[in-house]
C-alpha cells in the first residue's frame, strides 16, 4: 500500500531533531534580523507583533536548517559528479558518451519531483526495503544531486568547449601532458566561463529544495505550509518566501564576488 503510505507520510510530518549546527543558526539569524525588523513593523497591528513573528521564525528554524543542509550537500555532491558526467559525455568511447547523453536527457527531461519520488520509493518497490524517516533525507540529497549533476555536466561541457583550440595547441607544443593541459590551462578558463550559468543553477537549487516536500522531507517550505495551515495565517508562507529571497541574495552576492575575483583577466 505504498500510495496510502505516501499520503500517511504527508499527514504525519515528524519534527526533525534540533541538534543541528549552531553556526548555521547563527548565520541564518544574522541573515534574517534586518528583514525581521522591517517585516515586524509592517505586521505589528495585524498580529501581536514581534513576539509572534519571532515565534514563527523559531518554528521555521529547523526547516531552514534542513533546507540549508540539503542545499549545501547537494552542491557538494552534484558539482564533482557533474564533472565526471561531463568527462563521460566527452569520452572518446562512443558507448560511454551515449550512456552519459542518455542520463542527461532523462534527468533534464523528467520532473525533478518525479525523480525524488523514484529515488525515495524505488528501493521499497524494487527491493522491498522498508521506508524509513532517515532515508528521506538521503533520498532528497541523492535525488537532487543526481539531477543537478546532469545540469552541471552540460554547463561544464559548454565551459570546456569555450576554451579555444589554440590553447590546446600551445599547450601541446610546450610539452604539457593531457592531464597538465586540463588542470593548468583548460580548467581555470572553464571555471571562468561557467560562473554565470552556475550561479543560475545555484539560485534555482535554493528554490528547488522546497520540492523535497514531495517525499515529506521536512524542510523550510514543508514546515511553513504546515504552520500556515494550522494557524490559518499566510504569514509563515510569507516568511518562507523571505527566507528563500534572502538566501538567494546571499548566493548572488557570493557568486558575484567570486566572479569579480575571476575577472583578473579577460579572455
Amino acid at each position: 500500500m505504498p500510495l496510502y503510505e505516501f499520503g500517511d507520510i504527508m499527514k504525519n510530518i515528524k519534527k526533525p531533531s534540533k541538534n543541528k549546527g549552531i553556526i548555521a543558526i547563527a548565520v541564518m539569524a544574522t541573515l534574517l534580523v534586518p528583514s525581521l525588523m522591517t517585516a515586524c513593523g509592517v505586521s505589528a497591528e495585524a498580529s501581536d507583533g514581534f513576539g509572534w513573528f519571532f515565534n514563527v521564525i523559531v518554528q521555521l528554524s529547523d526547516g531552514m536548517l534542513a533546507s540549508l543542509e540539503l542545499f549545501a550537500l547537494t552542491l557538494l555532491f552534484s558539482m564533482p559528479l557533474g564533472l565526471l558526467i561531463c568527462f563521460a559525455r566527452r569520452s572518446r568511447f562512443k558507448i560511454v558518451e551515449l550512456i552519459a547523453k542518455f542520463y542527461i536527457s532523462i534527468m533534464r527531461g523528467t520532473p525533478l519531483m518525479l525523480q525524488l519520488l523514484v529515488v525515495y520509493f524505488g528501493p521499497y518497490f524494487v527491493f522491498k526495503v522498508p521506508l524509513s524517516t532517515e532515508y528521506r533525507f538521503y533520498a532528497a540529497i541523492i535525488g537532487f544531486s543526481l539531477n543537478y549533476a546532469a545540469y552541471f555536466a552540460e554547463i561544464y561541457r559548454a565551459g570546456i568547449e569555450a576554451v579555444p583550440g589554440g590553447q590546446y595547441e600551445a599547450a601541446k607544443v610546450l610539452g604539457y601532458t593531457r592531464r597538465q593541459t586540463f588542470m593548468k590551462i583548460v580548467f581555470p578558463q572553464m571555471v571562468r566561463h561557467i560562473l554565470p550559468p552556475v550561479t543560475n543553477e545555484v539560485i534555482t537549487l535554493v528554490k528547488d529544495t522546497s520540492l523535497a516536500f514531495a517525499i515529506a522531507f521536512v524542510e523550510m517550505f514543508t514546515l511553513a505550509k504546515q504552520i500556515s495551515a494550522s494557524e490559518s495565517n499566510i504569514m509563515p508562507l510569507f516568511v518562507a518566501g523571505l527566507f528563500y529571497y534572502i538566501f538567494n541574495l546571499v548566493v548572488s552576492f557570493v557568486m558575484g564576488q567570486i566572479e569579480k575575483k575571476m575577472n583578473y583577466y579577460s579572455a
Binding site: P164, V173, L174, G175, P188, Q189, A267
Partner: protein, 252 residues
C-alpha cells in the same frame, strides 16, 4: 648539421590532398622563409613539423633522429616516450599568439620550462626575466595578456617559445594579426634572432622582410614546393610563372 629533415610528406584532409610531395631540410643556424598563396598548405606543413597534425606518408627527422619513419608507404611515429624528447627540440609561434590568458606574462613564459622540462625554477625565472627585459617587456612581468598590445603579446609568445631552449623555431604568419606599426616591432625581434643564429622557419607574407632576413626562401603552391633558393633568386628573379604572378600581386 641538419636540424630538420622532412622527406616526401603527404597529407590529406578527408578528400583534400593538401601536402602532395614535399621535402625540406633545415640546417643549423639557417633562416628559411616559406611563401605562397592562401591554401597552398604552408600552415599544414608547419603543423606536421610540430606534430599538431599527423602526416599520412613521408619521413621526418629531428637532429638526425627519426621522428616519423616510412613503413610500406605509411608514416609511423616514434613511441610516445620518444616523442616527448622531440617536443623539446622545436618551438612554435602562432599567428594569434595563443598565450594563456589566465597567466601573467612571466608565468606564461616560465610555466612550461618548470613543469614540462622540469628545469630549475630559479634559473628559469632569472633567464625568463632577462629575456623579457631584452624584449622590452621588463615592466610587464605581472601583466595579463589582455592588458598588452598585439605586438607585446606576440613578443611574449616568442619569449615563451624561446624559454624552452628550442633548437629550431617555427613561426606561422607571426605578424598577420598585427597592425603595420606592430608588425615592424615583431620583424625587428625576428631579425635580432636571425643575427644571433637562431634556426628559424617562418611562414610570412612580408616579402621585404623575407628577402632581408632569409638564407633561403621556399615558395609553396597547391601542396608542392614550386621554387626555392636564395631570396634574391626566388624573390627578384623567379623562374616559375606562378611565383612571379603571386609576387606581382603582392607588390602592386
Amino acid at each position: 648539421m641538419k636540424l630538420l629533415e622532412i622527406n616526401n610528406i603527404k597529407k590529406t584532409f578527408d578528400d583534400l590532398e593538401v601536402l602532395k610531395d614535399i621535402s625540406i631540410s633545415v640546417e643549423e643556424g639557417e633562416v628559411v622563409s616559406i611563401l605562397g598563396p592562401s591554401g597552398s598548405g604552408k600552415s599544414t606543413l608547419l603543423r606536421c613539423a610540430t606534430m599538431l597534425e599527423t602526416m599520412d606518408s613521408g619521413t621526418m627527422k629531428y637532429g638526425g633522429e627519426y621522428v616519423v619513419k616510412d613503413v610500406d608507404g605509411k608514416s609511423v611515429y616514434a613511441s610516445k616516450r620518444e616523442m616527448k624528447h622531440f617536443l623539446h627540440y622545436f618551438g612554435l609561434v602562432f599567428q594569434n599568439f595563443n598565450l594563456f590568458p589566465h597567466y601573467t606574462v612571466l608565468k606564461n613564459v616560465i610555466d612550461a620550462p618548470i613543469h614540462t622540462q622540469k628545469r630549475d625554477k630559479a634559473e628559469v625565472i632569472e633567464r625568463a626575466t632577462h629575456m623579457l627585459e631584452r624584449m622590452g617587456l621588463g615592466d610587464k612581468l605581472d601583466y595579463y595578456p589582455c592588458q598588452l598590445s598585439g605586438g607585446q603579446q606576440q613578443r611574449v609568445a616568442i619569449t615563451r617559445a624561446l624559454a624552452m631552449k628550442p633548437k629550431i623555431l617555427f613561426f606561422d604568419e607571426p605578424t598577420s594579426a598585427l597592425d603595420p606599426e606592430l608588425t615592424g616591432e615583431i620583424l625587428k625581434v625576428l631579425r635580432a634572432l636571425a643575427k644571433r643564429k637562431m634556426t628559424m622557419v617562418i611562414v610570412t607574407h612580408e616579402i621585404e622582410f623575407a628577402r632581408g632576413v632569409s638564407d633561403r626562401v621556399i615558395f609553396m603552391d597547391d601542396g608542392y614546393i614550386i621554387e626555392q633558393g636564395k631570396p634574391e633568386d626566388v624573390i627578384d628573379n623567379p623562374e616559375n610563372e606562378r611565383v612571379r604572378a603571386f609576387l606581382n600581386k603582392l607588390s602592386s
